[in-house]
């Protein structure tokens, strides 16, 4: 079913880039290939090749400054919004290079959504927050139904259905974050990037979001950056471990099934990091 959902965007991006749409196996929602990210002259991310599978939760873990957030921001071209920032290598989405000439980054970001560390609802009503993305994307169907569907998928509907016109900022932190997830998925993206989505939340709200992530992967492919290794272990199918070298450039140490990373990792560096003996 997801393959069917993916085809239009693969074709659209491929048509613009002139690249064959089947370059990537359909198993991968998004792929970084020999990706290097720079801030000015500073190399922040070194030769990362990371295939992220469709309908999987892929976790990215690593110490501060290893380029986790930079990596996810490269996946929907948010990295380029920083003045002087650039990349080398490729990010393939549906087999086509997202950085190729002719690809509209705004449209791309509607297909690869993002949820940030701190809940950032607009200072509008709950309803307006979810409807916002739909409106600017020219949604033609029944708006109320689409809002309800997104809120239900984000496991928030039952809590807000009687107060859709209340200000979004009146919600608790956990509810605000689920609202942001509802807003991100309202426009039916294929990939949802989450940059430490629970770091500002209490344990109960965190568990609610984790539960949601596990359910959302049935419809979306999810890439989550987290500092919380237990969270990576709990929610993800595959985990990438990034480290930072002497020149402060991040690089990929190990990428494997989450189960394996947390029971028997292949690299000493991974083991030192996840067991808390990293220095």
């Amino acid at each position: 079913m997801t393959t069917v959902r993916m085809r239009p965007i693969m074709t659209r991006v491929a048509a613009k880039t002139g690249e064959p749409a089947q370059e990537t196996a359909v198993d991968y929602a998004i792929e970084a290939r020999s990706l290097r990210a720079y801030y000015g002259e500073n190399l922040a991310l070194k030769d990362v090749t990371l295939p992220m599978r469709r309908n999987y939760v892929t976790a990215i873990i690593g110490p501060s400054g290893c380029g986790k957030s930079t990596l996810v921001r490269c996946l929907n071209r948010m990295h380029e919004l920083v003045p002087g920032a650039r990349i080398e290598g490729k990010v393939l989405f549906g087999g086509a290079d997202i950085n190729a000439a002719g690809v509209d980054p705004v449209e791309l970001r509607s297909r690869i959504g993002m949820v940030f560390q701190k809940p950032n609802p607009f200072p509008k009503s709950i309803y307006a927050n979810v409807a916002f993305g739909l409106k600017i994307n020219g949604h033609k169907g029944n708006m109320a139904e689409a809002v309800e569907r997104s809120l239900r998928q984000a496991a928030l509907w039952d809590e807000v259905k009687d107060r859709l016109n209340s200000p979004a900022l009146s919600l608790s932190g956990g509810q605000q974050q689920r609202l942001c997830i509802a807003r991100a998925i309202a426009i039916e993206p294929e990939v949802v990037l989450m940059d430490e989505p629970c770091s500002a939340l209490d344990p109960i709200a965190t568990m609610a979001i984790e539960d949601l992530i596990r359910r959302l992967k049935e419809r979306y492919s999810i890439v989550i950056v987290t500092h919380n290794m237990q969270q990576a272990a709990r929610v993800s199918d595959e985990t990438a471990f990034l480290m930072v070298d002497q020149d402060r450039a991040g690089y990929l140490v190990e990428f494997d099934a989450t189960e394996r990373i947390f029971t028997n990792p292949s690299h000493e560096q991974t083991e030192a990091y996840i067991t808390g003996r990293f220095s």
């Binding site: 947390f262 029971t263 996840i274 067991t275 808390g276 003996r277 220095s279």
Partner: protein
Amino acid sequence: MPRVDFDRDLMALQDELLLMGSMVEKAIAKAMDALKRRDLEAAREVVRDDDLIDQKQFDIEDHCINTMATQHPVAIDLRHIVTVLHISVELERMADYAEGIGKISIMMGDEPPLKPLIDIPRMADKTADMLRRSLDALVNRDVEAAHRVCGDDDEVDALYDQVYRELLTYMIEDAKNIRRATYLLWVAHDLERVADRATNIAERVIYMVTGKMAEVGASTY
């Protein structure tokens, strides 16, 4: 950045396990000694002291559960704790076999053994050696040594086979021997099972070090 307290906790857990191992080793030696010397009081002590070993197993299990709940171990730390937990169960069962030998001594009462004990004490020495070396392999994280322990199980199986055949001839020779032959057969069987448990410990050590779970060789019995 080392995790000093956690590392100390893991070492304390391992030390508790080694202490339990030595309790089990002593129980087997004492049960065998009681059997050889027909010392019923010593045999009763082995049976009674099994409660101490049971309690030690509960303590270790409790310690493992607390550490897992509070420290969230992963990778080698998780494998270490799970291995300690597993080995404590193996040791507890080994102690039950020692208790079993003590009970057999008590059942035999003042009756002299059917025949001089030669191969059975050899089995006991070999199994005690396997137990010691399996725990050494744990301490030294030595996969090769663990494999050698597994290999030695064949020797114990061969000794058991020899004891079995010999006792069978006694039974065939005179039906009056059956009861006393059966007692000794039970002792030999208990020792054979101790060796199997030592092999299980060695397999757990291999898992702890390599992360790979596998049965190394199969016991004949």
